[in-house]
Symmetry: C2
Subunit: 215 residues, 2 copies
Amino acid sequence: MNETSGTAAAQPTERIPAAERREQILAAASVVFGERGYAGATTDQVARAAGISQPYVVRMFGTKENLFLEVLARALGRLVAAFRQIIAEPREHGEDEAELLAMRLGAAYVDLIEDRGILLSLMQAFISGHNTVVGAKARAGFLEIYRMLRDEAGFPPDAIRGFLADGMLFNTLLAIRLPDIFDEDPDAEELMRCTFRGKLDVVLGATAADAAEHA
Amino acid sequence: MNETSGTAAAQPTERIPAAERREQILAAASVVFGERGYAGATTDQVARAAGISQPYVVRMFGTKENLFLEVLARALGRLVAAFRQIIAEPREHGEDEAELLAMRLGAAYVDLIEDRGILLSLMQAFISGHNTVVGAKARAGFLEIYRMLRDEAGFPPDAIRGFLADGMLFNTLLAIRLPDIFDEDPDAEELMRCTFRGKLDVVLGATAADAAEHA
DNA sequence: CTACTTTGTAATCATTCGATTACAACATTC
DNA sequence: GAATGTTGTAATCGAATGATTACAAAGTAG
């Protein structure tokens, strides 16, 4: 259960209320699961990212699967909350009302990348459909988003499809780490630019900050 | 290295030329990796799906990582071949020429689901960007598709984004196994229908055949 | 028939990893 | 200042898994 500890100082670990520690672990687990997937991540990696010992992670969440389910629920909660806030905002009615709302929701979605791990762990859950329990939660979560777009945002079917499709492409380009090869292949940046338009700076800012954090 | 063997008869395993056996393993691995991901799949599961022993899989491909890389290359090859064939087809020029080509490519993409595992293992590779060697191949593969749409199909940026986005949503709904809950939640079918339009029958046919095969 | 190559498996090894146990340090209450 | 609860870790266990080894059976060449 070892792993070469990074340069981060291994302080004697201060005592912290369980609720607060819980959120720390969930935040760390979001990043780790988002990067490596459910099966690819280890509880030890999560523990190290959270600055605590591996047994503590397991005891607090029972099982690794349970931890992942909570990460998924947390990510879904953040996403839904962000969307609902946009939808609830007062907006003037017009012919392009739906289009404007879609733009705002899209911007909110892109901004979610700042909360490192949210979108990636969501995506990791989405492709775990084969897993009985994780898959069920992922399907339910996806449908919740669908219903929100349909009922609360009032999107017509084509708008829903277009919005979800853009989101999945966003997630994929994020997961595949296209910015990592901007130097080697200019097409990588071109594809990112053609996908994100003006919002590319936000994405690059977040991924660059993450890369620096990793170094 | 055990696992409850299915009802499939465990024949004494006939001797088969290495090249043929190799393709069998790759086909089986496509399905297994597509369902469970790179980290989630085991070489033993691949071996059982191919009807041979686990050591043989490892010896033929060296490592699990190598096997996954070959699965990825094979999937990418099939996709590129299918696209190139459509692009090479003679077509009359008109104002909606690009749109028609996009429709045909989209149909070809959906049809790829028949070759079980191709699209899912591709998607699994796309979200493995964190893995150094797999991630590099996945990025290169994605960019190859991008270049094909841009240079060979002659798509404008917006068409590329739309096409790729639809494809990623397709992959995601496929991976999340939405058809599994058509009975429980009618919204699941509604979302599938809003995404695939007329092509839903093709998708359902393929996934149903796969489900029956699993039973 | 004998030697050699190809195709395949059984047995097993070393590692990894999730989980458990036992215990320690700190805080709180009475 | 005991007693009790909270927060945390070290040590370790058992199962899973990728990989290796040794071996067998079938084909092929001479």
